[in-house]
């Protein structure tokens, strides 16, 4: 099972054009990047791996993970995983309609509580919701039901969106529903909180693999160009260590994403995804440290792009389960 090179090339070219340093910075300032999203949505990549019969773009889970790797590589400030392999996957699994716009999900933060009322409306609060303020609908599992509820950026009755941000400055909002009209359908076998969390973790591993790879490449270039004590800093043993560790972690994170993706294409892949997330988290911790260390003060500034990747990695390593949670799963 492999990914069509055309997917890689198209997505890579698209993001390289759209996700300039300035565009990513502007997305952070504005809390959204509608132009990047619409160009992305137009390609159909947003719904890759969702069957065409359900209103998706078709393609495999591996295709979706490859697109996410490139989202991570280019720090594309869009809810690609949320709309595609997470949100629309939930909706499609239960036969619910896919909206045209952004779908977001509830990653399952501490204190989240939602309940379906007797009249079919939804009440409760979810937090750390990616791009909640830009989402058309939220897809979530409540009491064994897949629920689809309008968010419309909080511009509808019964819904309020409190803006919050991740460590990367990306929207992670709190949304409160008060008897909000919702559609619901029974979640099929294999679609439940645990499988959703695995799928969420897998999406983060793919993103992280891309981001570490880019960060590693940035660091090699910087170390070759930057001179100190009369020579490129890449010639110092201490800097070489940083370059090697970052490259290892880039290779490791990408490799585990791909192997776990293969396994997840065939079954629940509990051990593989748990192991992949654990490895990706550790790789992110080591690689961000190594790359920042090699960059010195320059890497701490807004004007230099390292932080687009390092801050996203710090956010993603905590999302859908940290190291301890997944080590317990892998250890069983």
């Amino acid at each position: 099972m492999t990914v069509d090179a055309l997917i890689t090339e198209t997505a890579d070219r698209l993001f390289a054009r759209l996700c300039t340093h300035e565009a990513i910075q502007a997305a952070e300032a504005n809390g959204s990047a509608p132009e990047i999203w619409s160009a992305f949505a137009e390609t159909g990549f947003a719904w890759i791996s969702i069957p065409e019969s359900s209103g998706g773009s078709g393609g495999t889970l591996l295709d979706a993970l490859e697109v996410l790797r490139l989202v991570g590589y280019h720090a594309a400030p869009i809810p690609a995983a949320e709309t595609g392999m997470l949100g629309s996957w939930l909706l499609a699994s239960a036969g619910l309609a896919l909206p045209d716009g952004i779908v977001t999900i509830a990653p399952g933060a501490r204190g989240d509580a939602l309940s379906l009322n007797a009249d079919g409306t939804l009440t409760g609060t979810v937090s750390m919701v990616p791009w909640g303020r830009s989402a058309e609908r939220l897809a979530v599992i409540v009491d064994g039901q897949v629920v689809s509820v309008a968010v419309a950026g909080g511009a509808v009755e019964h819904v309020t969106v409190e803006p919050r941000t991740s460590l990367a400055g990306e929207p992670r909002d709190a949304i409160t529903f008060t008897k909000a009209p919702a559609e619901a359908a029974t979640a099929p076998d294999g679609v439940d909180a645990a499988s959703f969390r695995l799928r969420g973790a897998l999406s983060r591993v793919a993103l992280m693999g891309g981001a570490i790879e880019k960060m590693s490449q940035l660091t090699v270039s910087y170390a070759q160009e930057r001179k100190q004590f009369g020579q490129a800093i890449a010639r110092f043993q201490a800097v070489q260590q940083h370059l090697v560790w970052a490259a290892q972690d880039a290779a490791l994170a990408r490799s585990v994403a791909e192997i776990a993706g293969l396994a997840a294409s065939r079954g629940p892949a509990k051990f593989e995804i748990a192991s992949a997330k654990l490895n990706a988290n550790q790789a992110a911790t080591r690689a961000t440290k190594a790359c920042h260390q090699a960059h010195g003060a320059m890497g701490m500034t807004q004007e230099y792009p390292l932080h687009h990747y390092s801050r996203r990695l710090w956010a993603w390593r905590s999302e859908f389960g940290g190291t301890n949670e997944w080590s317990r799963v892998a250890g069983r």
Binding site: M128, K289, M300, T301
Partner: protein, 385 residues
């Protein structure tokens, strides 16, 4: 090399109690968002209150407004301020470094002009050392000062100048003789005092930090005139004077305390709850390591008070403290296993989020960790730094 064990005397413990009382009164918990170490908030009013207690420039001579106290006394005050996350940013550099440099190398006129104001918490200093192409190679200064009648004309650019936009003056390392004339890049450098906001030709540009906050600035010099009376010490001897200044910076409690207020906040937020083994063990480990480094750091302060120049010891402690900070953050992130946000309702989680974002900077400030290792390693081998 020896870190002689030392403990606080009765008088020193009384000072510690006084500082704690002051903080409990001035900054009761919940009244302020604690700052992390050197990113502490800038609050001239707070600096003034501290100065009224004699806690700014406290190791400087009474003659110039100081309190003539010991390095250990300063250690006690700084330790408590940092643990509390107090807004010490305005007087930080002036208190820690610039005051001492002026007292040590300056003229009586300079001492009278600057030191009493520093000790009153009324004069904030920055340091103009790094340049766009210097990196860790701090002696490779190219900003040049050329002789002019009654002073010097300066052209060039300084970068990573912390808090230049909120402080008043800065002490700058400038090249007064070209390298090819003096034969060694550590020669021909001079230190000058420059007003950050009232100097024609001087321009500040903020360099936003990765989360948008401004601490750093670029400072460019366009035919800036510096009068002779603002040159500190001997022209051409700036590197040696500056090295002394760096040594003051190392080994102090700022190194290993800038994340510890985060741990203390977690302790507060979990107080009274039944800790699981993992949390208990992590608290134990962090407390034990904090205690170990703190004892060594206190020994360094005692050595300074004994008139010694513990530069290798300082570099060793600073490198240890820096690694301790980084590991503390990593361990806490693993422990809490939750999504962090600067807008969390838990102060501990907000602080930890701040730690994660600013953590990589800890290994850079005041010499990268590699430079510290090189200083320490030369010292261990008995080689000159």
């Amino acid at each position: 090399m020896r870190f002689t064990p030392t403990e606080l005397t009765v008088d020193e413990l009384a000072l510690q109690a006084e500082v704690r009382e002051f903080l409990a009164e001035e900054l009761p918990p919940g009244s302020h968002e604690p700052g992390l170490g050197m990113s502490a908030a800038h609050d001239p009013a707070f600096s003034k209150k501290m100065a009224e207690r004699g806690w700014v420039g406290m190791a400087l001579p009474t003659e110039w407004g100081g309190s003539n106290k010991k390095a250990v006394d300063r250690f006690i005050v700084v330790e408590e301020m940092l643990r509390w996350g107090a807004p010490v940013g305005y007087h930080w550099v002036a208190d820690r470094q610039t005051g001492s440099v002026i007292v040590k190398f300056g003229t009586d006129e300079q001492k009278a002009r600057f030191v009493p104001k520093i000790c009153a918490g009324e004069l904030g200093f920055s340091i103009g050392m790094s340049e766009p192409d210097s990196g860790s190679d701090l002696a490779s200064v190219t900003t040049r000062a050329e002789r002019d009648s009654g002073g010097w004309i300066v052209n060039g650019t300084k970068i990573w100048t912390s808090n230049a936009h909120t402080n008043d003056w800065f002490i700058c390392l400038l090249r007064t003789k070209p390298v090819d004339e003096v034969g060694n890049k550590r020669e021909g450098l001079s230190q000058m005092l420059i007003d950050l906001h009232n100097t024609p030709g001087l321009e500040l540009s903020p360099i936003p930090f990765l989360n948008g906050e401004v601490h750093f600035n670029e400072v460019s010099f366009n035919d800036v005139f510096v009068p002779d009376e603002n040159v500190v010490g001997t022209p051409g001897m700036g590197w040696n004077q500056n090295t002394t200044e760096m040594a003051y910076e190392r080994g102090g409690p700022d190194r290993w305390l800038s994340t510890f207020s985060t741990v203390e906040q977690l302790l507060r937020e979990t107080a009274g709850t039944d800790l699981d083994t993992r949390t208990l063990e992590l608290f134990g480990e962090l407390a034990a390591r904090w205690w170990g480094i703190r004892n060594m750091s206190l020994s360094v302060a005692r050595l300074i008070d004994a008139g010694e120049a513990p530069s290798v010891e300082s570099a060793l402690v600073k490198e240890m403290g820096t690694r301790f900070e980084i590991e503390t953050i990593e361990r806490l992130v693993e422990l809490v296993d939750t999504e962090l946000s600067l807008e969390s309702s838990s102060l501990f989680e907000r602080l930890l989020a701040q730690c994660v974002l600013t953590g990589p900077g800890n290994t850079i400030r005041g010499g990268t960790i590699e430079i510290l290792r090189s200083v320490a390693s030369k010292g261990l081998q008995g080689l000159p730094a």
